[in-house]
Each structure stands twice: as structure tokens, then as C-alpha cells.
């Protein structure tokens, strides 16, 4: 009697979009196949990727189609996973489980060190947890890069009848997908990080605000919450710590922490003026820690390995690892977790594998739709907060999108401004009006009726939006537009009316 072969296939949304879903449909009833649906390793250019066990570890087949099954079952032409350069050159801590485990297998999570961060946190005082985070020098991974311990200290010291922990899973920055991967692929890590935070600040309730565009993420996370609840570790000091998943409704600005809180309260997702900061007065006016999914997911390792371990990785002002998400016209799009400090050039060559076939490099954008553009001459910049701040740029949430020679920079600039005009919450004038005027000017230039004055008008407008907007949407929106004009002035001038 023949036994079925265990084959590992990712159930990540992008892996499915690349064809893993069709493979699963084709093989689910196959008598010789026992399909295990795992998280994705993030080497999306290789998806759908199928793996099987060997005495020397997992072996993989890339870009698999249903016809490749005989090859895989006979064990022919596979590549050892550990020898895939894209993965072997990474330093995976937060993403260590990816490609290894079934997302909802709590026992596997624990076998691989899961829950040891929470256990460590339960053994020490809330002050000691916050001290460990101070030592770690962890900064928020959502974009603002604020020291995490500082926020926690404020929330801890603010007296209130209730406090909240809110995970920001409204990953709206185009070009980013690492939060989605965590929600779908290693959801217990997020929940563990939220529990550690709740213990530190004395919170009694948690929320995950998940964007509506991520249905699989919300579903997986709800299942994970149910599992942890059944396993009786969704509690603190003997009291239940309920975590609820709340879905958004398509608004980008709801990823801004105060707009997110408004939306969580069921209102228009409009930005609040700060101060007070959410750590003092957040959800329903109570002290609230709002942090990105990736930030919470980074915390269990800090508690189990120690803050000093985290602080030893990365650069002076940027400790730990960064999850970079490569996209656009790069040859190898996918998730790259490395310590801070590699240059942009290194990341794109070493991991990105250069340009997609037929493409020549034109520019790269780092940090989502509000991130600056870099031309080929600025690729030596080290990927860390301080170097980017010095260049007037941001790392944002770690999205890196490469544009090729076919990109029309005027149209791209128009695309950016149109995005802000669509997504502005309308609370502050510079963003509400400025983004519309900016879009109009760029449409005028694109249509061939712009003048040289329009370019200086864009600069003036950009300066106003930068200094006078209430949140990062209006404040950062001019950067991709102005860097496009700065680095590709000829393209703009060529379209002006003479």
C-alpha cells in the first residue's frame, strides 16, 4: 500500500493569486498527495512553490504547475530550501516561521518558541517589560518610527478606568504586504505581542483594525483568536483579555492612528489633532496603544531573547531588523527581513536580483505612496531611519517599488496627487484643498497646457502642505511629486506649453 507524500503549499493570498489556489484545487483529492497549507516564505517570484521533506531538510520546486506533480512525487530536480539565495541571505527573526508552519497550528507555534515572550513578560513586572523595550530601542514599524517603550510608559502612567491595545492592520501603503503576511501566516505572533503590551500598560481589551481589502487575513486572525481563547492563554492575571477584529471600509487615512480610532468608534475616519496622543487619550478617550502589526509581532522575540539582543542588530538609530517588501519592476519581488543598514543598491541587487526582463531602471520609491523617489545616482543610501531622515525621505512601512524606463514621471506624479486627493479625510485645509489643486496642476502639465509657473506653484503648494497639514498624508504627499520633478526635470519641462 502506498502512502501519500506530504507536500507543502502556501495558503498566503499572494501565493494563491500566483497559482497556489489552482494547484490546491487540482491536488486536493489526489491519493498520492497529502497537502499541507503553510504560510509563504515571501519569495513570491518563486510562487507557487511546492516543498517536501527530505532527510536533509525541505526541498522545493518553483513556479509549479499541476503537470509538475510526477516530477515532485519522484523527488526529481528539487532545490534545497536552505540554498535559495534570496532566503539564505536574510536574517529572519520576526518572519522565522514563514514557510515552515501551518498558520493556525498553535502547537507548532509553541514548538518553535512561540509564547516564550509572553511567558517571560508574565514573570516580570510591567515596569520591567517597558525597561526591556527601552533597552531594545525598538521603534514603531508602521511609519512614524516612534520609540515604542516611550508610548507604553505614557499609557502605563495615565490613570483610567479602562485602557486599550489596538493593532493597526490597515496596511494601506501601496507596495507593502508584510502585515498581511503576518495576519495570514503567523497570527499568534501578533496576538502574543498585543498581550505583552496589555500586561505592560494594564489594558483590559484589544482590537485589531483590519482593512477590508484583506478578507483572508481577518478570517485567519479570527480563527487564531478563537484557538488562543480555547487554549486559555487569551487572558491576563486570570481575567479574559478579549481581542476583537474590526474591519474597515476602504479608507486609506484610517491607517493614521487617530483616524483609525475614530473609525473604530464607528465614525467618519477623520484625523484628530494631537496632543493629546492616543497613549494618553485614545479610543473612547482612554489611554490606548496603537501600533502596527509588524511592531507587535517584533515584541515576543524581544521579551524572550532580551532587549540587548535586539539592540545589537542594525545601526545606531535603527536597531533590529526591517521587513522590506520588494515590488514593481524588480526581478525578484518578495519579502526581505534584514538588519537595518544595507544600502538600497545592495537590497535591489542582492535580493531583488536586478530588473525584470526587458526593463531598465528608472527610479525606486521607498515608503509607500508618500515616499520619496530615488534615481540611480542615489542608490548608496543606507536603509535606516537616520539616513532617510537626513535625505528628507522616509522608510515608512518598508515598501520598495521599482519603476522602469517606460514610466512616465509626469503621469506618476499625477497618480500620487490624485491618490491623496481621493484619500484626504478633509479635516485640514492644506491637504483637502492642496491635494486637489496639486492634481489639477499635474493634469494640466500632463495635458500639455502647463507653464513654468506651474512647476514653482507645485513647489509652493508642496511646502505649504508639508508644514501645515495635520497628519502624514498631507505632510508627506508632496514628497513623491517633488522628488519626481527634482530628479526628472526634463520630462516635466518637455510637457510644458512653450
Amino acid at each position: 500500500m502506498s502512502t501519500a507524500t506530504r507536500l507543502y503549499l502556501s495558503n498566503d493570498t499572494s501565493a494563491r493569486a500566483a497559482g497556489a489556489g489552482a494547484l490546491a484545487d487540482a491536488w486536493s483529492e489526489h491519493p498520492e498527495v497529502q497537502l499541507i497549507r503553510i504560510s509563504s516564505r515571501g519569495a513570491f517570484f518563486l510562487e507557487p512553490m511546492v516543498e517536501r521533506d527530505t532527510p536533509a531538510g525541505r526541498v522545493a520546486w518553483f513556479n509549479v504547475t499541476a503537470q509538475d506533480l510526477p516530477l515532485i512525487l519522484s523527488g526529481t530536480d528539487g532545490t534545497p530550501v536552505r540554498s535559495i539565495p534570496f532566503l539564505a541571505q536574510q536574517t529572519r527573526f520576526t518572519f522565522a516561521n514563514f514557510g515552515e508552519t501551518e498558520p493556525l497550528a498553535l502547537d507548532e507555534y509553541q514548538t518553535r518558541g512561540g509564547l516564550s515572550g509572553l511567558e517571560a513578560a508574565l514573570r516580570i513586572t510591567p515596569d520591567a517589560i517597558i525597561e526591556e523595550l527601552r533597552v531594545s530601542q525598538l521603534r514603531g514599524r508602521g511609519g512614524a518610527a516612534f520609540p515604542v517603550w516611550n508610548k507604553w510608559k505614557v499609557a502605563q502612567q495615565t490613570q483610567a478606568d479602562e485602557k486599550y491595545v489596538v493593532a493597526n492592520a490597515d496596511e494601506g501603503d501601496a507596495g507593502t504586504y508584510c502585515d498581511r503576511m503576518i495576519l495570514e501566516g503567523d497570527p499568534f505572533r501578533l496576538l502574543e505581542g498585543m498581550l505583552i503590551c496589555a500586561r505592560a500598560i494594564g489594558a483590559g481589551r484589544g482590537y485589531v483594525y483590519c482593512r477590508q481589502e484583506y478578507p483572508a487575513a481577518a478570517k485567519t486572525l479570527r480563527a487564531a483568536i478563537q484557538k488562543t481563547d480555547e487554549a486559555e492563554w487569551l487572558e491576563l492575571d486570570g481575567e479574559p483579555f478579549p481581542i476583537e477584529v474590526v474591519e474597515g471600509a476602504g479608507s486609506y487615512v484610517c491607517g493614521e492612528e487617530t483616524a483609525l480610532l475614530e473609525s473604530l468608534e464607528g465614525k467618519r475616519g477623520v484625523v484628530r489633532a494631537r496632543p493629546p496622543y492616543p497613549a494618553q487619550s485614545g479610543l473612547y478617550g482612554r489611554p490606548t496603544i496603537v501600533s502596527n502589526v509588524l511592531t507587535f509581532a517584533t515584541i515576543p522575540n524581544i521579551l524572550s531573547r532580551g532587549g540587548a539582543w535586539h539592540a545589537a542588530l542594525g545601526t545606531e538609530q535603527s536597531r533590529g531588523t526591517i521587513a522590506l517588501q520588494l515590488g514593481g519592476r524588480v526581478k525578484h519581488p518578495g519579502l526581505v527581513e534584514v538588519p537595518f543598514g544595507l544600502s538600497l543598491h545592495q537590497v535591489l541587487e542582492q535580493f531583488g536580483g536586478g530588473m525584470a526582463p526587458g526593463s531598465r531602471f528608472k527610479a525606486v520609491q521607498v515608503g509607500g505612496p508618500l515616499g520619496s523617489l530615488f534615481p540611480a545616482s542615489q542608490m548608496d543610501i543606507p536603509i535606516c531611519y537616520d539616513a532617510f531622515a537626513k535625505a528628507g525621505a522616509v522608510l515608512g512601512h518598508g515598501g520598495i517599488v521599482v519603476y522602469d524606463h517606460e514610466t512616465d514621471m509626469v503621469d506618476l506624479a499625477r497618480h500620487f496627487m490624485a491618490f491623496t486627493a481621493d484619500e484626504s479625510c478633509g479635516k485640514c485645509t492644506p491637504c483637502r484643498i492642496g491635494s486637489v489643486r496639486g492634481r489639477e496642476i499635474l493634469e494640466r502639465i500632463q495635458a500639455g497646457s502647463g507653464t513654468i509657473e506651474d512647476l514653482s506653484l507645485l513647489h509652493d503648494l508642496g511646502d505649504t502642505m508639508k508644514v501645515a497639514s495635520l497628519c502624514a498624508l498631507g505632510g508627506r504627499a508632496p514628497y513623491p511629486v517633488l522628488t519626481a520633478i527634482e530628479h526628472f526635470p526634463a520630462e516635466f519641462r518637455a510637457k510644458l506649453r512653450t
Binding site: 499572494s14 504586504y177 515590488g327
Partner: protein, 149 residues
């Protein structure tokens, strides 16, 4: 008040009331949010109609009219932009003979855009209902659309 609306709202009652949650629950069941239900919603939640309309008009995903049987959303994120989402959108507009936001004749498809599907490493992306399709070429659209009834 419509009995169905009443029973859905009863399930999402909270203190303080959560307008967005109530609207999403209604839309989930009804497919869209009928304007004539606004005052009922306001009454049931104990808020003003202005508050309900304020929330209703704010969020792109809340719909006042029923979409077609299938909702096609073309991702306009930067990675999709770099990989030719503009061409995909134009092809879909031509094939379905609709503009963004419109429903094609026969009510089969509504065409819309989205700002990012988080599928950037497998772009360009089209989302139909809750399913994502990546690395799409305009030439693959016919076969894709045929899958939907």
C-alpha cells in the same frame, strides 16, 4: 421599519452605538445601503440622520446602489502601476463598456478600482469579489471573466 433591517441592527447594537459597524452589517446582508433606510438606522442606533449620512458618505466601500453580481476591482497601487495596471483597467473598460464605478449591461459586473490589494509581489492585480488574481496580462482577461456567471 423593514423587519430585516431591524433584525440586523438588533444584532450589532452596542453602547456607545457604532454606526460604521451597523452599516457594514447591513451592507453585508443587503448588498448595498438603501437611502430610505437611513432614518430607520438613525432611529435604531439612537443617533441623528446626519451622523449616519456622514459615515455613509465617507467610506468608499459603503454603497448606495446595488453593485452587479460580481465586483471587479483593479488595483491601482504603485507596484501594479509599475506593472501596467493602467492597461488592464482600460481593457476592462473597453470589454465591459463601462467607466469606473459603473455596472455593465445585464448587471453581471461592476467595475471599480482599489488603492492597494497587498498583492504587490504578484502584480498587477485584479480582485473579483473576494478572490485575487495576480501577474495578470490583458490577454488573460477573457478567460478570467468567463469563469463568472
Amino acid at each position: 421599519m423593514d423587519e430585516q433591517v431591524k433584525s440586523i441592527l438588533a444584532k450589532v447594537r452596542s453602547e456607545p452605538p457604532n454606526i460604521l459597524k451597523a452599516l457594514l452589517a447591513l451592507q453585508e446582508r443587503l448588498g448595498h445601503l438603501p437611502t430610505e433606510a437611513v432614518s430607520d438606522i438613525a432611529h435604531a442606533l439612537g443617533v441623528t440622520t446626519a451622523q449616519v449620512v456622514g459615515v455613509l458618505s465617507y467610506y468608499p466601500d459603503l454603497r448606495l446602489t446595488a453593485p452587479g453580481r460580481h465586483l471587479i476591482r483593479v488595483c491601482m497601487g504603485e507596484s501594479c502601476y509599475a506593472n501596467g495596471c493602467g492597461r488592464l483597467l482600460r481593457e476592462l473598460q473597453d470589454r465591459l463598456r463601462v467607466d469606473v464605478g459603473e455596472t455593465a449591461a445585464g448587471g453581471k459586473f461592476t467595475l471599480d478600482t482599489m488603492s492597494c490589494a497587498g498583492n504587490c509581489a504578484v502584480s498587477p492585480t485584479v480582485m473579483i469579489d473576494r478572490d485575487l488574481y495576480g501577474r495578470l496580462l490583458p490577454s488573460q482577461l477573457d478567460i478570467l471573466l468567463e469563469r463568472y456567471e
